[in-house]
């Protein structure tokens, strides 16, 4: 390998890492500098901290506890539609939060399907706002993630072990002791921590379903401090607290080896000779039905309500859709550049990688609102930040997608190096030739997947854009939020359906682009 190539890769990697550091920590510094004088945490702030941790813990606990029987049922049963259900379990990740919230409102809201059904038999409608609404939404998003991670654990148990247990005439209880509990002990803590971490940085769910002094997360409190009170010192202190909380959670999560969703091989199930009993079959069928109903009904509600509304969408929709699309496109480009620069440096220079990789993953702990606030303060003296609302949104979205892109790219790139690195070295393939002839073609699939994730996440993001965008600059999610706030629910459902379709299309196109003609 030539020296020139070494340094170029290294420099690009360092530059990308520094950019990520500047965006995550530099923006906090910017907020801190502008925060004037001391600031003491009031009772409201303590309540926000308590609520954030409490709802995150409850959401993670419930998601994991419910996911265990669902994953067990999926692991040991074969039925038509199983593959579709497992694939759908991967979808909430790219489902725009605001769309899901609208769907949950249509099912569990005051005038939703559940309340209507309860009304028929003389019960009061249920309320969804507050702690239980936030938890409901978080479980909706994270139950599928937990199920997939745990299902992966189940299927990673070698099939011979189940056969062995069968020849020993082991009962389901013996199997649980011998095989399943050891696996769960290894998989559950990581799964819990990932979901806990995701829920501590939750903003859009708290914005739409929470609120009020009793159901405000720290992220939401930052939004209030900045947008409503323009109290910068408070926003800065809350930003630090947010960073400390999610940073600590991320460090713990990294320590206990978080399981990775590979998605590979989830389409098979394990033949179980011990579970061929009617009672167990009924239990499994029940869990699968419950999970599928819980996940699909809100989406069905949106489709039912949104389809007729598609005919008369408000005129601003098309401009908003266009803005969302180019924000997503920009975000994809930035994600790929950052992720690729860091990945190549991590793989070629392992010593650098040791500190680069954690920086990339810790971006998951960064708060989009903190980054947004910091960028606003940095840009304010230079130019009108509102004019840059959309590029800033794209940039922040890119940082949020970076950890997932790295998770997909780094192992793939390491494998390319170990399989073909020596051959390429012996052929003298260095620099650009190596990048374009070897690395990029071999990384097509993970690159496509990363782009797909970054695009879909950005399409559906309702975070930093709420901080600055004026009404003339709304993205599709923001427009949807405003329609909901104005109680124009039919139009909202139509916009939600459009947003959902666009997000899935963006995901599909990029992911597909990585797969077509990719010679494995």
């Amino acid at each position: 390998m030539g020296r020139v190539a070494v340094t170029r890769t290294g420099i690009a990697g360092v530059a990308a890492t520094l950019a990520v550091l500047a965006l995550t920590f530099g923006t906090v510094a910017a907020v801190l500098i502008r925060a004037e004088g001391g600031f003491r945490l009031g009772p409201q702030d303590w309540a926000a901290i308590r609520f954030t941790l409490w709802q995150a813990a409850l959401s993670a606990l419930l998601s994991v506890a419910l996911a265990v029987p669902v994953a067990r049922a999926l692991a040991r049963r074969r039925f038509p539609g199983r593959a579709v259900l497992v694939t759908l379990m991967g979808a909430p990740f790219i489902l725009p939060v605001i769309v899901a919230v609208l769907g949950l409102l249509a099912v569990f809201g005051r005038s939703g399907w559940v309340s209507q059904a309860l009304g028929l038999i003389g019960f009061d409608p249920i309320g969804i706002y507050g702690l239980h609404g936030v938890i409901l939404a978080h479980v909706f998003f994270n139950l599928p993630l937990a199920t997939r991670l745990i299902l992966q654990g189940w299927l990673a148990i070698p099939a011979e072990r189940f056969r062995l247990a069968a020849t020993l005439d082991a009962t389901p209880r013996d199997i649980s002791r011998l095989l399943e509990r050891p696996m769960l002990r290894a998989v559950l803590p990581g799964t819990f921590m990932v979901i806990f971490l995701i829920c501590t940085t939750s903003f859009a769910v708290a914005l739409t379903l929470g609120g009020g002094p009793r159901a405000t997360t720290v992220e939401l409190a930052i939004y209030h401090a900045f947008r409503l009170d323009f109290d910068l010192s408070r926003a800065a202190v809350l930003a630090l607290i947010q960073l400390a909380m999610s940073g600590a959670a991320a460090l713990i999560a990294l320590r206990i080896a978080v399981p990775v969703v590979t998605g590979a091989g989830l389409d098979r199930s394990v033949r179980r000779w011990d579970a061929d009993r009617l009672a167990l079959r009924v239990i499994d069928a029940l869990w699968i039905t419950l999970a599928a109903t819980f996940l699909l009904t809100p989406l069905a509600a949106i489709a039912a309500r949104g389809l007729p509304a598609l005919a008369d969408l408000p005129v601003q929709v098309w401009a908003a859709a266009w803005r969302s699309l180019w924000v997503a496109g920009l975000s994809v480009a930035v994600t790929l550049v950052l992720a690729l620069a860091m990945t190549l440096a991590i793989v070629r220079h392992p010593r650098m990688g040791r500190w680069m990789e954690p920086v990339g993953y810790l971006a998951i702990a960064a708060s989009p609102l903190v980054i947004g606030t910091g960028l606003f303060l940095i840009l304010f003296p230079l130019t009108d930040p509102v004019a840059l609302a959309l590029p800033v949104t794209a940039l922040v979205n890119a940082v949020m997608a970076l950890p997932f892109a790295l998770r997909a790219l780094v192992p793939a790139a390491a494998e390319v190096e170990s399989r073909f690195g020596r051959l390429a070295d012996s052929l003298g393939m260095t620099g650009t030739a190596r990048l374009t002839r070897l690395t990029l073609p071999r990384l097509r699939r993970p690159l496509g997947f990363s782009a797909a994730l970054a695009g879909a996440l950005s399409m559906g993001d309702l975070g930093v854009v709420t901080l600055f965008a004026d009404p003339g600059q709304a993205t599709l999610p923001l427009l949807l939020y405003r329609l909901m706030a104005a109680y124009r629910m039919d139009q909202a459902a139509g916009v939600a359906l459009l947003l959902l379709g666009l997000s899935l299309a963006v995901f599909w196109i990029f992911d597909r682009g990585g797969r077509v003609n990719a010679d494995v």
Partner: protein, 230 residues
């Protein structure tokens, strides 16, 4: 006696027929090209793969209705024979009680089995701290305490070197003298089949051929075997 009565095993394009008997107490090696269906044949006896036609009988009784755990079968696979989080003793004890709760007499029996396979001092070791040969011995100890009349070995020693493999086969032979169990062992090495000193079933071209004396068969191999041996 283990009898294959016009058995047909099918999966997709794969098809294997078997129509023969194996004498009780005999030792039979099973050889053939990879993908021919050696492991499938054993899986069918073990109850992991149901024949599409025909019956598999043990002492004249059809095995079809029995779940794997209720069959007169002890099985050792190519790998993953031991649970990594259990000690050698606990792994062997599973052969007696999957729940792991043993009384004094049963404990003594497991200790005895470990001693028989030469693992007397290794009872508290976990698989990761045992050598490949010792891991095979622990699996054999479990087979001993299972005390089933049919023993199926699916290339359990494939990962061991030739000398160690010969040692293991000698151990298996000596263990079988006391239990008088019937043995079927899949192997890809003719030396193993010779060392086992019993019969040989050749699985090739969709047919599991009836057993014949291994030594004679290897000295004058028929077409199907000659092709495999090269």
């Amino acid at each position: 006696m283990l009898t294959f009565e016009q058995v047909v095993l099918e999966q997709g394009d794969f098809r294997l027929t078997a129509d023969f008997s194996v004498t009780r107490g005999s030792r039979t090696a099973v050889m053939g090209p990879s993908g021919a269906g050696k492991s499938t044949l054993l899986a069918a006896i073990g109850g992991f793969f149901a024949p599409t036609q025909g019956r598999i009988l043990w002492q004249g009784a059809d095995l079809a209705a029995l779940s794997p755990g209720k069959r007169p079968v002890a099985m050792i696979f190519q790998d993953n024979n031991l649970f990594p989080h259990l000690t050698a003793f606990e792994n062997a004890a599973l052969g007696l009680r999957p729940s792991g709760r043993l009384n004094t007499k049963e404990t003594a029996r497991v200790q005895d089995a470990l001693a028989q396979v030469g693992l007397a001092g290794f009872a508290t070791r976990k698989p990761a701290t045992l050598s490949g040969g010792q891991q095979s011995r622990a699996a054999l100890a479990r087979m001993l305490v299972q005390d089933r009349p049919l023993v199926l070995l699916d290339e359990p020693f494939a990962a061991l070197g030739p000398a160690l493999r010969a040692e293991m086969i000698a151990l298996v032979k000596s263990l079988l003298v006391s239990t008088r169990a019937t043995l079927l062992m899949v192997t890809h090495d003719p030396a193993d089949a010779r060392a086992l000193g019993g019969d040989l079933v050749v699985v090739a071209d969709g047919v599991a051929h009836p057993p014949a004396l291994a030594g004679a068969l290897l000295d004058a191999p028929p077409a199907a075997l000659r092709e495999y041996l090269g």
